[in-house]
Symmetry: C2
Subunit: 277 residues, 2 copies
């Protein structure tokens, strides 16, 4: 089921600027027993993204209602929210009156084997690079050709994710996830001030590290540093946390810090699930 | 009128990857008395863009027919072509079978005063920068947030266009046009190997310069070099060529080289119009 501006339909107005220019934002949220996990944080990030793109989206109450309509009977699903600058004429210039488009839609929850969470996944490096764009860095906008091209590099199910470097050879993130590495009991994650998406689970790992007394530093990371790490893990709102069991030729075991963070995230999610949404 | 995959409709399937990721390309073409100006060159650039994005679009014959259906009665209009990777599920990964979406639609031709062509236009610098992305540089893809944000910087009709710098402070192009400057009878235009769109008229200015024996160099250009230029002009497929009469505080007159190139382009367009399409 899809709701576009509250209406049940799978058809979008062709004049939508989301289609013409990628002029909008999205969020991807896990739904468990009718509860949208970390919804508040996702809507906060959406609001920040709207501010960055200067999209005057105010209908958060309507959006919340539509999300409820769509999700309240769902056992386990993925909710996608898209907000765009709405319809417009030809050209980059915005119409005088902007009516943002809001879309909520559901996808089946992907059928990941349990071992991805317990044993870890296999990771590769992608050849396609992330462009540099400080103004757009961090937010979850709709201009995603870099990720599309990187994800097209492998078809085999042997690899669950690919790491992307930026054009300066810094390792930045997975095509769909954020990266953390552990070296000598210290956590590191790429600074995402020139490109990349600041994920909600990434944000929670900062909270987890603080809570658990683990040092966490945002930094530049090289391929070599990833290969020499003691532990690696990936995060996003659908996978939550996947340890990395293999990167190129190098093997890893889910380490103590990865497991601590993973347990903390599970507990935090349980707390979120117990809240009345 | 709009045709989506040959069907008269203004409604797009929401699952289109053009909407979710900007996973596609576009072309903007002037239509005069049912003739699409420089159509062959536009379709060649579209094909190149598809190759860069690895979109397996082969339906150029169908596209040409649809363009004809849409434009053959039009006196003066703007044709927009959009090709995307078609519909897909959630996530960046492409479906096994890709059915690209083709869209053709018409807009009224903008009502520009004649003085823009004869006396020139007023130009400003934009604060918003172009990100760096060598793989995507040059092609006319749908990830256009940089241009959207730059074009949102001014609302007054006093300025007809804004120049965009990249994040390294090189002047690259207008929000919707390519830039040329003249200094001591030599033409310069920004190299577009890190960002920007290689326009069809830009491509023809290279041909014009060669034909007219004018030196033309692709180079890095600073704000200062633009301000100290003898002549400046902008090009795109809708405006063709606009001399610049003012940049910030500095005034210019349409110079000899600008006018030579402008006349050459007019003649070349007349030849194109006389061809049977």
């Amino acid at each position: 089921m899809i709701l576009i501006n509250g209406k049940k339909t799978s058809q979008l107005e062709l004049s939508d600027r989301g289609f013409h220019y990628g002029d909008g934002l999205f969020e991807t949220i896990e739904v468990i027993n009718g509860h949208c996990v970390f919804l508040k944080l996702h809507l906060e990030r959406l609001a920040q993204g709207c501010e960055t793109l200067e999209i005057p989206f105010k209908s958060f109450d309507l959006l919340r209602e539509e999300i409820k309509t769509l999700t309240h009977h769902q056992r386990h699903a993925v909710l996608k929210i898209i907000v765009t600058r709405g319809s417009g004429g030809r050209g980059y210039q915005q119409p005088t009156k902007i009516n943002p488009t809001r879309v909520v839609l559901l996808y089946p929850f992907p059928d990941f084997p349990d071992v991805f969470k317990t044993e870890g996944i296999k990771l590769r490096f992608c050849a396609n690079r992330l462009g540099l764009n400080p103004r757009l860095a961090g937010i979850k906008h709709l201009n995603r050709l870099d990720q599309v091209l990187a994800r097209a590099e492998w078809h085999s199910a042997d690899y669950q994710e690919g790491l992307m470097l930026d054009i300066n050879n810094n390792v930045m993130e997975g095509t769909m996830s954020n990266l953390f590495i552990v070296k000598k009991n210290h956590l590191y994650t790429p600074k995402l001030n020139m490109c990349g998406i600041k994920g909600i689970i990434r944000q929670l790992v900062f909270l987890a590290a603080q809570d658990l007394g683990i040092n966490l530093t945002e930094t530049d990371l090289s391929k070599q540093q990833c290969l020499e790490a003691d532990e690696l893990f990936l995060t996003n709102s659908v996978i939550n946390l996947w340890p990395v069991s293999q990167l190129v030729e190098k093997s890893y075991r889910p380490g103590a810090i990865t497991q601590k963070i993973q347990r903390w995230l599970e507990d935090f999610k349980t707390q979120d699930l117990c809240q009345i949404s």
